[in-house]
Amino acid sequence: MSLPASFSLSGKVVLQFGGTGHLGGALVSALASAGAALIVATRDKESVRDSVAQATQAGHAVFAEEADIRSEPSLHELRDRVLAAHGRIDGVVFNAVSRPMSGFDDDLAKWEMSMAVNATGFFAAARVFGDAMAARGSGSMVAIASMQGMVGPNFWLYDSPAAHPPPDYFFHKAGMINLTRYLAARYGPRGVRVNAVSPGGILNPAKPPSEGFLSRYGEMTMLGRMALPPEICGPVVFLLSDAASYITGANLCVEGGYTVK
């Protein structure tokens, strides 16, 4: 009889890109609690100081490293530092995102700034760390995509045209989901699984949207509400763990049924 599936990340070295924001902080806490030795890669160490300190206080092994995913040399240096300090990399969570655009009519320079991080940066990081894990013959990569990479915007949801989501997000998140399948095909034979998690709207309790938005948004989901940050973390832990050993190329939706309704 073989052992039952393990969801634990004990003994695994996990690298998380993007540790800020209400999801980034929740991921740091979740991955560390699941037992991973966690390295949070961020442009600015100061920005993750609190979440790293909290996890460290709770007795977890969490480290911050600075890196700029717009720069391939910076990613190579990050890889070398992580390997020197921890000897291996078992998991990568890609949660970095840049949101330079605020509306449809923005200057194209803002679109290009978005792509430098969200398209080129994602590919560069996935290649550097996919190659590093494939060299050892095992690993799991999880890309934090979005249901906005699967469906178009429903402008009815928003309070005013100023609140409409910008177009770049819908483009690069869709690209992320299909690049995930490309990476899964490329790295599968070398033991590296690659999957996406597509959250729906995540409630930021510190900055809640209007009552009107919450009620309209609730109607669009089956569960009648926005997601809470920890609800996105369980799926990520699962996909990183050995319990998901035959899952690759998948896009796991965590949107309370929004895209299926």
């Binding site: 039952p4 599936a5 969801f7 899964a184 095909a185 034979p189 369980g234 319990a243 690759t248 049924g257």
Partner: protein, 259 residues
């Protein structure tokens, strides 16, 4: 966070829990603290040597169950309440059908395939609703890669393993019925999801080695799946780690349908 995947608050009826995949799923539920009723048509499997760990587990109880009979399904749910004090999880791994082709299949063959593939899933869901209505519950159905894609006949050759048309027809219906149920039953606090396994051939059925090689080649991971590869997906969807996931079909196919 430690207990994110714990099933200590779950009492689960596992239809088909004594089968090749079912045993691994049942073991994983038990290992994560869940209580189980194994309901299976194959009563003799309960007595077999490789079922003894489940048979002797304090949190497991077995029951012979014919998915065609409403009374059997209700008996499984009642047994769960009696033995475990509550019933709030349902896993359905059952499938039954016949070999058939488009040219030779009768209307009755198709009706049987739909019954064994999705009719009994509907029945098990309908019968669970009165039990789950008050305090919520979670349902995990079993779809298939062939509910999402169609067999590539080049790999089947003369293997005798040809996949009949009724199978994918019913498994596609399971995927849609899963999301329909999720939308309809959310009001009772019931989540409904499915797992879509890829190739997980049972060695006991002696599949030819060259056919196994063909199956492995169709996956990105370059291998067929083992029951233990899939058990985690069922535990995940039963657990509170997936509290915001409903109407979803979690594809566990080694990448088969993604290229």
């Amino acid at each position: 966070m430690q207990n994110l995947f714990s099933l200590e608050n779950k009492a689960v009826v596992v239809f088909g829990g004594a089968g090749y995949l079912g045993k691994a799923v049942t073991r994983a539920i038990l290992a994560h603290g869940g209580k189980v009723v194994v309901a299976d048509a194959n009563e003799t499997a309960f007595g077999s040597g490789d079922f003894s760990d489940i048979r002797n587990h304090p949190n497991a109880v077995t029951l012979r169950c014919d998915m065609g009979r409403v009374a059997d399904i209700q008996a499984a749910y009642n047994l769960c309440r009696e033995r475990h004090g509550f019933f709030n999880g349902l896993v359905n791994l059952v499938y039954y059908g016949r070999q058939m082709t488009i040219e030779t299949g009768t209307d009755e063959d198709v009706a049987f395939a739909l019954e064994g593939g999705v009719g009994q899933v509907f029945r098990a869901t309908r019968e669970a609703v009165p039990y789950f209505k008050e305090k919520g519950g979670v349902i995990v159905n079993t779809a298939s890669m062939y509910g999402l894609s169609t067999p590539d006949y080049r790999i089947y050759g003369n293997s005798g393993q040809n996949n009949p048309p009724g199978y994918g027809m019913a498994k596609a219906a399971v995927i849609n019925f899963t999301s329909y149920s999720a939308a309809n039953l959310a009001k009772y606090g019931i989540r409904v999801n499915a797992v879509a396994p890829g190739p997980v051939p049972d060695p006991a059925k002696n599949p030819p080695a060259d056919f196994l090689g063909e199956l492995a080649k169709k996956t990105m991971l370059g291998r067929v799946g083992k029951p233990e590869d899939l058990a985690g997906a069922f535990v995940y969807l039963l657990s509170d780690a997936s509290a915001f996931t409903t109407a979803e079909t979690l594809v566990c196919d080694g990448g088969w349908t993604k290229w």
